[in-house]
């Protein structure tokens, strides 16, 4: 089951915690907003991804399977 990372750009305020917790996949642009380098999350990073989702102060980070359900 492939899981992808998605950002709700309206909720996101560029806090930057996701980039700290998942630097392999998320970088910050010049304005501090997250850029998802590759939406597909490799299995070893899944726990880190979930932690980043929990940590986001605005709950703007989403981990979804192909059906769009939250994982």
């Amino acid at each position: 089951m492939s899981v992808t990372l998605r950002i709700n750009p309206i909720a996101c305020t560029g806090h930057g915690m996701c980039a700290e917790l998942l630097p392999e996949v998320i970088e910050l642009d010049r304005w501090g907003y997250p850029v998802v380098v590759s939406p597909a999350i490799p299995r070893p990073l899944l726990d880190h991804a979930r932690r980043a989702v929990q940590a986001c102060p605005r709950l703007a980070l989403l981990v979804e399977d192909r059906a769009g359900k939250h994982r």
């Binding site: 709700n8 750009p9 309206i10 909720a11 996101c12 305020t13 560029g14 642009d29 010049r30 304005w31 501090g32 907003y33 850029v35 769009g68």
Partner: protein, 433 residues
Amino acid sequence: MPVPAITAGTARRVPRLLAGLGHPPGLAGHEHAYGPLRAPSRRPGRLIDVVEVSGLTGRGGAGYPAGRKMRAVAAAPGRKTVVANGAEGEPASGKDRLLLTRLPHLVLDGIALAAQAVGADEAYLCVHGTDGALLGQLDRAVAEREAAGLDPVPVQVTGIPDRYVSSEQSSIVQYLNGGPGKPTFSPPRPHERGVHGQPTLVHNVETLAHLALIARRGGHWFRGAGLPSAPGTMLVTVSGAVRRPGVYEIEMGTTAGEVITLAGGPAVRLQALLTGGYFGTWLPAETAWPAPLTHAGLRAVGGSLGAGIVVAWPAGACPLAETARVVRYMAEESAGQCGPCRFGLPALADALAALAFSGGREGAIDGIAELLPLVERRGACRHPDGVAQLVRSLFTAFPADAHWHQWQGACGGVRRPPLLPLPGDEERDWDWG
């Protein structure tokens, strides 16, 4: 927009929508022009079948198959809503306005049909709230139909904020739900959960107008014009350096050159066409001229059709300067909800203005190229994507001009008065509702 003309092109198959223009306004003239709408005695799903056979696609710019959208909403449980989007946000488009002012009953027929087909009990017709005259006109048309007992689902004519992004379908849904006229994050999409949480069918008014004729004449009739891959007719707004700018009805697949000819031909030598509006693309004249006006046809040459907008660009005018103006407008029209759009578009506008008007700086073009992936697909709606697409096409169509500006500075064309229409501050309703 200037007075629309009725195309005299392939007179056998067009005009269809615009056939009613010669008839007196009002319900009687409408029925005389197109024939009465038969009472919906057949089962509601029948119309959706017919629409699917017709191959009608959305005329609001996305080109999504209309039948598929209707089927998705009809299949959803619970109560439904129909929204007719007549809030033409693109400044260079005038077709929706033409339909609503001169042929409102076509659109209202379409709304009634769509409501019946998907089982909706609520219907809205949305136009810009600042246009008091149009709102009054539409109210009168609705009242006329009410008196004739025509629409089982009453149509609520609604004024929405006059902002560029407010005419996006999720913005309209949020506004109708009592929120600001700004785009929302999807999922859920309107056809899943829209107005009052109900599955909502959002269609451009032209799409609904076509629906009104398809219901009368059938899906095969619709396919009698246009191409097998892009059937039917469409309304295009032709402006710029042509002799007779206006709204024309053409068969799908008519080439850009044929449409320009229809509009009286070029007024001066053309260097390019801007297709699809400010959400569209620049195309060099030689590339655009033979291209068929369909979504696929223009995509094949690197362009986009959008809501059927063609602007003829004269030689001697500076496309960089005009694009810089347009991008500045688009930056101001950002809903400001998403960081990459809120900061990226002004940065893009600044960089373009510098290149166009000051020029002469190494790396200016590269700087702009770096900004584009920072705004594309990073917003909740397609607003920044449209701007990025326009800018990309600018550099694809005018590489020589761009380099000239970067190394030599502004060209003479920047001193000419601007050609592309942009609503001024006074005309814009700055409220989000």
